[in-house]
Amino acid sequence: MTSVGRNVPHDSARGHVSGESIYIDDMPPARGELVVDFVWSPVAHGRIRAIDLDAARRIDGVVALLTHRDLHHNKFGPIIQDELLLAEDVVTFIGQPIVVIAAESRAALRAAKLSIAVDIETLEPVFTIDEAKRRKQFIGSTMHIVRGDVESAFAGAKHILEGQFTNGGQDHFYLEGQAAIAVPGEFDQVAVHSSTQNPSEVQHVIAHLLGLQINQVTVVTKRMGGGFGGKECQATHPAAIAALVAHKTKRPARLVYNKDDDMRVTGGRHPFQNDWKVAFDDDGAITALFVDFYSDGGAFADLSTSVLGRALTHAENAYYIPNAEIHGTVCRTNHAPNTAFRGFGGPQGVINIENILECIAVALGKDALDVRIRNCYGIGERNTTPYGQVVANNTLPRLFREITASSDYRARRKAVDEFNAQSPTRLRGLACSAVKFGISFNTKFLNQANALVNVYLDGSVQVSTGATEMGQGVNTKIRQLVADELGLDVAQVILMPTSTEKNNNTSATAASSAADLNGSAAVDACRKIRARMCGVAADYFARTAGLEPSSEHIVFSDGEIFDDRAPQQRVPFAALAKMCHLERVSLGERGFYATKGLDWDADRGCGTPFLYFTMGCAVSEVEIDRFTGMMKVLRSDLLMDIGKSINPGIDRGQITGAFVQGMGWLTTEELRYAPDGELLSHSPTTYKIPNIQDLPPVFHVSTIDNDTNTVNIRGSKAVGEPPLLLGISVWLAVKNALAYESHGAIPQLRAPATGEEILRLLTEYKAARVEVASAAAS
């Protein structure tokens, strides 16, 4: 029986529920191991005058105090090499590491941290996009996507709206903080256990910073306690710091961030502030769109330019825009560097256009769903993106049609109208949003993967790939694919820790594509092994059943191998493996995969950056307390096209988890800063991710049948990021609710829509109402 398409439990499920699963800080300390921490900048921008380490040196148990001078190189970065591991003369954000401390005990570590005085002359910081724009303080260059004749379209427009949209940042809030253990080896080699989405990047950066060859560094990732993009680049810092200590002291070194420190010193999702202008007809059809995106990149480039690139390629989302002019610029500020976060700029691009559609609906007095359907990408026409890619296998019209019916949207709209007209205490809103998420790394060379498959003499199989497991179930999916290729039960296949020793030069587990890329590479390896095993089997059946040897007739099924011309005679997989070994036929193989057909010209903003699109729609209804602004979600319906699922249970978990995470970003998750730039909301007491009570009481999640995505492994579609964008429907529902109170004005709702933000607008509308009433009275 095939295991692909079945609801196989997560390969770590038993370990997770029993507490046996091992994370970095669960590993027992090695002999002589040091604990590591660092002193960071307490100011957002300043010049270091002096660092006094004398008191720390005298503390018993302090083994090493290291600064940038102890590094071979100090500069690195995934795209632009502007980042410093340890501050030199200038500090540019609160939390920037300055001095590394290694000690034999946590008490000594704490005492040393408190004893180190860094004298810093404060310089003027930049905390806002406006201020960065004023100073022209940017990272990289402005990007563009342009199609058609925007100027003429605006000149001949029936209606024009313009505005500015802002969204806040978001902390990843992975439960396991950043963590690494570095163990020194012979001849300056170092082995690092890292909670990272990108072992190869950790390896490359450590080699670079310590002045080693890449082959002297091995990085192993068993699993992460959550990643969400936060461990794509920023897991590198603790790993590099631990490796520096191991390299200098020749002792194992462990660095684990606690939650407060983690939230303060790492970046998150990029805040955006976008200027937009749209032209549209009486029926809401968009004729031209102008968007100028500005993101807050923080102090260093990190992945900001790439994140912005994805915002640009998602600026139109599910909607056909005949004339478009889209620009984007990353601002350099004195916040912690912002980085990858599930969606990677896609959510910021999409909420911008979804907001615009909601604005058009208010301006025309139409239901926003109708405006969306009017603008939705067509099939065979109106189906080219502003950057020139054809939206193939478009299921968006079907998704809109089906969710309108399944969510009972039209009847509920009437009910909301009636409710709002009669309730003096509460206000409801209803909204539908869509997602069309491009799958593939925008950067072409990253779309490759390799895998190592080893078959053992008892027929058991080990698989190693560059994919890292952070809970998303990539290992389970690859396990199913491998088991299927070799005709085995999944119990025969184990996914091994990701290691740069077995899989070199790998891409990050990111862009929702780890199962696509690494699964395909593993399948490639399996097919090569299987071809060789077929040869041995064909000879065997030729000998024993008197058949002409023919690999084409060999079948692997349910742990057995047979020739389909004599199916009653079967050999267990293990026996064939042993046979192969005796015949000196290799039972190990390395597979490789590179996505075909990608072509993206970033400079010109055109091409085919994506292999395919994952699509979906959502309808959410919210209720607001008119007096406090407190909001609750009453119901959400999600409908997605994820192709033919490899594991429906795991994919469903990705959909529900991503949706709630997206909803959190836009509702309760607010990063609040002190005037000096210090993050105030740096723990779950003050930073509120959704809890179980926030799961909508009515929550319908389903997928459509679609077997047309033949370009990807087994007809599946990537699912990690796209459903996060469906959380936007909740924010839109809040905006819709406010539109019932705004006397025809477009609600200027910021994201996140906290109770405070909602009450701000309700109070404004009430004041306007009182003003109108008193004017009428006089």
Partner: protein, 450 residues
């Protein structure tokens, strides 16, 4: 007098003496007992990853946060960690329902979920949501976890039967600067003799100070072994609550007597916090946003303060002298709280960024005595708008004698707003709080009187 702490972990006895007894249970489990299934994330009792089960004497096992619980608080308890669950029905269901993704929150969830099945064989959605309010998951969106709880088979064995052992806790314990006496007299004498002594009951706040502010008290006192302070009883038109009564026990006791307060306690905090924290602790901590305080203010609660010279009674409004300043002598403890049952029209409010398990930005209690559409007397207390919870004398005076109408309450709201001077902080801006101070009165009108 014993000089060490004795407790059971998964049925095995542990003894800890000296400075080691001041470690948190979570750190002890992970770094000393090599039981790394229990995870540490927030170290402030807000995420539930460190959840373990605790049982005192013959009581049921209940979930608590082991990251803010010190070993000194554990004398005489039995603890069950994820390693001790024995692959029960909850764990099986979590596997089948994809309830675990990254797995880091999972031990806390399966422990908290197992606690739900100690007192029943089947749970409904409300029980699950309430029971898991104190556990954060960032991966699943909770739906698979909810489903796992709802579809779990009945437990084959209750944990109280799997771990029937108990351990005596009727002996006083002294470990370095920590003292757990068995009599009130010993407690107040110790407090008198040790300036700056901190009382640790649930330590749901003190535990956070220790973890995050390097808090170190010169002496620590637990009242937990003083049996007379376990008192929880009806006293005519009031409930008498001893210092050892946890918020969970108090919540269950007042469910039908004071439903409004029960409703606030329901969203006050997680089961883990309510199983550790006490009503007396909530009062003693004196936060201006303590969720029980507005009710206690408008109900006219009284505190029984015990000292070396005897006891005295202080009205709750007189107890708070300023931000975290109290009418409490160095030798005194809050021994009991007398909580009157309010029969008048009453409504309590809590406004926070997230509805459940969030520290409030604003709280309010509004109590009215009315006859025939007129207000005889109004009592109003607000939290989150001043250094302490405050009464609103001008607003109360305005309302007295007025006819009930929307206009009356809108005007009262404007007066209330002028009476308070809130500040801006991480939980909300000053304008927001001022607006809430105004809006809550018309809201009250619509919800209760209209």
């Amino acid at each position: 007098m014993r000089n060490h702490i004795r407790f059971l972990v998964n049925g095995r006895e542990h003894r800890v003496a000296g400075a080691a007894a001041f470690a948190t249970l979570a750190n002890y489990l992970r770094y000393d007992a090599a039981a790394t299934g229990t995870k540490i994330v927030c170290e402030e009792g807000d995420c539930g990853a460190c959840t373990v089960l605790i049982r005192r004497g013959e009581a049921d096992f209940v979930p608590v946060n082991s990251c803010i619980l010190s070993l000194i608080q554990l004398d005489g308890t039995s603890i069950v960690t994820v390693e001790g669950l024995g692959m029960n029905a909850v764990q099986q269901s979590m596997m089948a329902c994809h309830g675990a993704q990254c797995g880091y929150c999972t031990p806390g969830f399966v422990v908290a979920m197992s606690a739900l099945f100690e007192t029943c064989d089947k749970v409904d959605e409300k029980q699950v949501r309430d029971g898991l309010t104190g556990n954060l998951c960032r991966c699943t969106g909770y739906e698979p976890i909810l489903k796992a709880a709802l579809t779990a088979a009945p437990p084959t064995q209750k944990l109280r039967d799997l771990y029937p052992q108990t351990i005596d806790d009727d002996e006083p314990v002294r470990v370095e600067s920590f003292f757990a006496p068995t009599t009130q007299a010993d407690a107040v004498a110790f407090k008198r003799d040790n300036a700056g002594c901190t009382i640790v009951q649930g330590a749901t706040d003190v535990g956070v100070w220790i973890n995050k502010r390097s808090f170190a008290a010169p002496a620590m006192l637990s009242l937990g072994k003083i049996r007379e302070l376990d008192e929880l009883r009806d006293d005519g038109d009031a409930v008498v609550v001893g210092a050892n009564v946890t918020l969970s026990k108090f919540e269950a006791f007042i469910k039908d007597k004071i439903p409004e307060l029960y409703g606030i306690l329901n969203i006050f905090g997680s089961p883990q916090i309510k199983n550790a924290g006490t009503l007396a602790g909530n009062i003693a901590n004196g936060s201006p946003i303590g969720d029980t305080l507005p009710y206690l203010f408008v109900a006219g609660a009284e505190l029984e303060l015990a000292g070396t010279g005897g006891t005295r009674t202080v009205a709750i409004g007189d107890y708070y002298l300023g931000y975290k300043k109290f009418d409490l002598r160095p030798d005194e403890i809050i021994a009991r709280v007398r909580v009157p049952v309010v029969a008048d029209t009453l409504k309590l409010y809590k406004v926070s960024r997230r509805k459940d398990l969030d520290i409030s930005a604003f709280t309010a209690a509004i109590r009215l005595r009315t006859t025939d559409g007129h207000i005889n007397a109004a009592t109003i207390a607000y939290g989150g708008v001043a250094p302490t919870v405050v009464r609103l004398p001008k607003t109360e005076a305005f309302l007295a004698g007025k006819a009930i109408s929307l206009g009356t309450f809108e005007e009262a709201g404007r007066i209330a707003r002028s009476e308070v001077k809130p500040i801006s902080d991480v939980r909300g801006g000053a304008d927001y709080r001022a607006q809430l101070a105004e809006n809550i009165l018309p809201k009250f009108y619509y919800e209760v009187l209209a």
